[in-house]
């Protein structure tokens, strides 16, 4: 067993840390305050190949590992969680299902543009009445000659208004239950497709979370992704991968809050000494540091299994559950260590605490992760 990073991964870490520090961190407060999608950052990411890290070179990607991809989401989120989730949704929820389920034509058509960042990807599963119970899909796809006709709507879709390509889950035969659910590739310019309301959110405020509307949206027949009636499984498998990305996002937020808190508690003096010298600070911070390191190992080992082609569904759920709860705990305590200053927008921990919360909710709530883990335990 080898816990060390490879030389390639070390080189990657050197690059992504510098990129996050110089290009992402300076914008984080503004992106949050103005609820602004950092498109210029995404363009910079695209230029160096970050939008296609684990996509094979033959499809225009960088041919990197999922471990590298996880490191990217972590380091970006350490600076700005909005930027982290843009990459995570794009890579895990759009590129990966095309890579894993697409026909050769679909891969040739979509992956090079997604990997180069010319196109941004998104994933639409959630509906107003189908959240945790994702099987309750009300968006319907009906085959009409050579075209699928989609009707319905999706909510809370990350990258919504900036994406060019959407993986859309819809009901193709209601009588079959989850076996009547299929997946499709929808393009922004398809007739009958439009972007609805944009959410005003507590955290990750720069990520564009929008509604998607399908009104007799017509797409060619060959846009069906994977087999007919296999869309539910495809969505669940996609989320298995996505969860490691979100775990990495949560981990990055936690690390960012640790960095800020170490710095602040060393500088801030009360009772004639740095508050980092109080044993309460030291013991709590030692516990948090231990959790963050454990969280990182869970993320890396889940990605390791994915890279090796081993089953990783429960590992992904554990990574996401633990990282999300660690992020929430670390950021809440980080605000506490900052005192009143931590409650203001003068210090980034305020934003980090708001950003952390979503990691316990999307791509399966923490309750869902527990169901997945228990499901494996008691099978």
């Amino acid at each position: 067993m080898d816990f060390s990073l490879s030389k390639t991964e070390e080189l990657f870490l050197q690059m992504i840390r510098e990129f996050a520090e110089k290009e992402v961190k300076p914008l984080a407060a503004e992106v949050d305050e103005e609820e602004r999608f950092p498109i210029e950052t995404v363009q910079k990411m695209a230029k160096i190949g970050l939008m296609g890290i684990p996509i094979p070179k033959e499809y225009g990607g960088a041919g990197g590992t999922n471990i590298m991809y996880g490191m990217a989401v972590e380091e970006l989120s350490r600076a700005c969680a909005t930027t982290g989730v843009i990459l995570s949704a794009h890579t895990s929820l759009c590129c990966a299902p095309i890579m894993e389920n697409g026909t050769e034509e679909q891969k040739q058509k979509y992956l090079p543009k997604l990997a180069s960042g010319e196109w941004i990807g998104a994933f639409g599963l959630t509906e107003p009445n189908a959240g945790t119970d994702a099987a309750g899909q009300q968006t319907i796809a009906v085959l009409d000659g050579d075209e699928w006709v989609l009707n319905g709507s999706k909510i809370f879709i990350t990258n919504g208004s900036y994406a060019n390509v959407f993986i859309i889950i819809a009901m193709t035969d209601k009588s079959l239950g989850t076996k009547g659910i299929s997946a499709f590739i929808v393009e922004k310019t398809d007739p009958g497709f439009s972007i609805g309301k944009k959410e005003k959110k507590m955290g990750i405020r720069g990520s564009a979370t929008t509604e998607l509307i399908f009104e007799d949206c017509r797409i060619p027949k060959d846009r069906q992704l994977g087999q007919l009636g296999k869309g539910f499984g495809l969505a669940m498998k996609t989320l298995d991968g996505g969860r490691i990305g979100i775990a990495a996002q949560a981990l990055g937020i936690a690390q960012g809050a640790m960095d800020e808190t170490v710095k602040y508690t060393k500088e801030r003096k009360q009772f004639g000494r740095s508050i980092s010298q109080f044993q309460n600070t030291q013991f709590q911070m030692a516990d948090l540091e231990t959790k963050v390191q454990a969280a990182r190992l869970l993320v890396r080992s889940a990605h390791y299994k994915k890279d090796k082609g081993l089953p990783y569904s429960a590992d992904a759920a554990m990574a996401k559950l633990f990282c999300a709860e660690t992020a929430m705990e670390v950021t809440t305590k980080a605000v506490q260590f900052h005192g009143g200053y931590g409650y203001t927008r003068e210090y980034p921990v305020e934003r980090m605490m708001r950003d952390a919360k979503i990691t316990e909710i999307y791509e399966g709530t923490s309750e869902v992760q527990r169901m997945v883990i228990a499901g494996k335990l008691f099978k």
């Binding site: 030389k7 080189l11 690059m15 190949g49 890290i53 070179k57 990607g61 960088a62 590298m68």
Partner: protein
């Protein structure tokens, strides 16, 4: 066009700590990086590659671990990387360093040699100009901006203390570059993935065209007697007074310090 960029691995700090007893650098615990001016030089080379299809080689003289900056250069997009490493090259001063690098360059084809202006550890800014002298090449130091006519001639903006100069120089030639002149690109992800699968040529002293007595400790007339960090000057005093008062004030201060 063929370009060779000389890059050096240096400790990542501008405040290099020096062991007061030995006068040598304390390198433990300080991560190593590519010298910032050299990275700027590399960026200029890669821009010329994009515009004119130049072939870019990087060379470093150093310990085997200097391999890391060559991998970084590969990931940034260079075509060829050379590590010049040999015990015989150890203990070199600037003259022996430039002799060795010039010896390597003599065996290669080039139109343009780029070095950094200055290494942040040794700090002498001598190696670039010395290489040009060894190879009898024209040189411009402190380059800020570079244009190429696509054929033979470079138009260069050179920083000076008063402002800048515009100069023209024909290939083959050498320039030394300032880090502040350009923002170096990031390594690409795809370049990183490939970096350790590509070749770094390892050269020893036998491969280069220079007499053995000119390299390493033997070729170094200088030995560092003592190094010390610059002591910081205290912040100056500021006075807001009329010009008349200022004259008296300054004269008073100069007298106080027995300068006049």
């Amino acid at each position: 066009m063929k370009i060779v960029v000389c890059i050096k691995q240096v400790p990542d700090t501008t405040e290099v700590k020096i062991n007061p007893q030995t006068g040598t650098l304390i390198r433990e615990g300080v991560p190593s990086i590519m010298n910032p001016d050299d990275k700027g030089g590399l960026e200029f080379a890669l821009q010329l590659k994009e515009q004119y299809g130049a072939h870019v080689t990087v060379i470093t003289m150093g310990l085997p671990q200097a391999d890391a900056i060559l991998r970084e250069a590969l990931a940034m997009g260079v075509d060829r990387a050379i590590l010049l490493t040999d015990r015989k090259l150890g203990g070199a001063d600037t003259l022996a360093t430039s002799s060795a690098l010039a010896g390597a360059l003599r065996t290669m084809d080039f139109d343009l040699i780029i070095t950094g202006r200055q290494a942040i550890d040794g700090d002498t800014a001598q190696v670039g100009p010395q290489i040009a002298e060894h190879l009898d090449l024209p040189q411009v130091s402190y380059l800020e901006h570079l244009e190429y006519d696509g054929n033979k001639t470079f138009t260069i903006r050179k920083q000076t203390e008063e402002g800048y100069q515009m100069l023209q120089m024909d290939a083959p030639c050498l320039v030394t570059v300032l880090a502040s002149a350009v923002k170096p690109r990031y390594m690409s992800v795809s370049g990183i993935v490939d970096a350790y699968n590509r070749e770094v040529e390892v050269w020893n002293a036998d491969k280069i065209d220079v007499p053995e007595e000119r390299i390493g400790k033997a070729g170094s007339p200088t030995s560092v007697f003592k190094s010390f960090p610059k002591s910081l000057k205290p912040a100056g005093e500021t006075f807001e007074v009329s010009p008349e008062e200022a004259v008296d004030l300054i004269i008073g201060k100069l007298k106080e310090k027995h300068i006049i």
